[in-house]
Amino acid sequence: MSTEAPRERRPAPVLAPAASAESGTTSPPETPKKPPAPPLPFLLDFFPLEDAKQTRLSAFFDNLRAGRLTTTRCRKDGRVRWPPRVVCPECHTSELDWVDLPVDGRIYAFSAVLMGAPLGMESEVPFVVGLVEVDGVPFRMFGRIVGTPWDQCHVGQKVRAEPYDLPDGRVFYRFRTVPA
């Protein structure tokens, strides 16, 4: 059983820090290439708009394309928050800096979507989602988890964040299990 998202078109770049864990030897084989699905109408498309014409957070996606998972840190209170923002919710300042997030973490909780998938995700069933405790930040990140079938995943399992390409040229991130 493969948990790979069929949206992927090319191997994702390895996020810094480049580590030896991305051996790929224990990952399931990639899903065979399928012709790209027709794009969903805008109001059924889950993925964020990433172009600078549409969002002030386009740097997040530029960074992700360059292999960096980043978020914003408030200059005033020094806190790193998720998701990235344009105004600090505490200080209400817009003086925020982009900082790299640690990419290694462990599964805190997970489940799998076996039925009831949203439009555009039906062909990805079954897929694993989970909350990941990311090393060194005061929050957990939710995301798709690939690399291990759902019935072999476990709480505490090591995962690493990675970017992946959407068929229309946008980019997003997910977690991949790290071989023990």
């Binding site: 109001l43 059924l44 889950f46 993925f47 964020p48 998720w82 998701p83 805190y108 909780a109 997970f110 489940s111 799998a112 979507v113 076996l114 039925m115 009831g116 998938a117 949203p118 439009l119 555009g120 995700m121 039906e122 990805e124 897929f127 989602v129 989970g130 909350l131 929050f139 957990r140 990140m141 939710f142 995301g143 798709r144 759902w150 019935d151 709480v155 997003f172 997910r174």
Partner: protein, 393 residues
Amino acid sequence: MNLGRGVALVGGATTKFGVRAATWAELAQEAGQALFQAIPALTAADVDSLFVGAAEPERFAFQSHVAPFAAEQLGLAPRRVLQRTELACASGQSAIRSAFASIASGLSDVAVAVGVEKMNLPSMAEANSSMACVMDRAWDGAHGATAPPFFAMVAQRHMLEHGTTEEAFAAVSEKNHKFANSNPNAQFYDKTFDRAKLGRLPLVAPPLRLGDCSSMTDGAAAVVLVAEELVSKYTDVPVRVRGTGQYADFHNLANAGSLTDWVGLEHASREAYRSAGIGPSDVDFAETHDCFTISEIVEYEALGFCPKGEGGQFALDGRSSLGGDVVVNPRGGLLGCGHPLGATGIAQAVEVYDQFARRVPAARQVPDPRWALVHNLSGSANVHSVMIYEGAS
């Protein structure tokens, strides 16, 4: 908290819940018809305000501006306050809380709160997308975050931290489905689910099976709330609003904190108990938000019906059923009745009224009730809304 002038619930009604061959507008008309039948003294001219609980009519029915749309379906011409309330799964209770606040403040005298949701669409995948956009759509939804995997994670952590079992989940589902067998308006009125059958149903989001999840449901419900001095025109068994509380503390799942410790519900229920001047042990029956079996288990704990971590055992021991400490979800719950988002909170209030008015079948009648609690969560249990009612003594 000053609750203002007295407000009472004087009756209500629901449509049949289920996969209905009926549109949003038709469901609203049915709810209006049932309401006027349930309260013979009520006339359309009496109603000065209308609050419409509707979670996603834009997505499920491609209809916006639903407050005047609903008013027309019900044959009402509100002259004081007309508004829609949207709070996802709690949209119905939000309509009731708003009606209560409007009457308590003196702005309204006679208010209808109606909840309508049409969820079964030709494309269920599209309906699932609509459910998923209740989450932080861009940052959580895009990964595939819908309600079942979120509550499955709550279940996983509760099992890990407290040793809760799948049998406890099935005990909740069995109880609520059994109650639903006494409620002809319930989606699963004529379906039997015992624990053995529930354990064989397919997994939706492990560890949750089909019988652990409430359904996509079409339905509508309506209630009338009036100022204390107008009560006698409509009923001789009024039900008074005595307390309310609400709490919201996060939205993106990154900021959820503990999955099993629903701090927001502890805050909301504490405020509701305090305003009513009662405690958890005073509650005779509760309509709680069992969108999933695990939700009801965590709710027993956060509402103070049992100690933290013991919700599963509380269900297994029958302490949330007739003859137990507190009767939870005698209507059949969201599990047995289905969960038409905007209608759910209203239908729970209808059950509260009908229980106090002794209008429900004996199989689910709570003996001599005085205090009732209604709870709705919304989204990823990031918002909790609670109301406390006292029956006529």
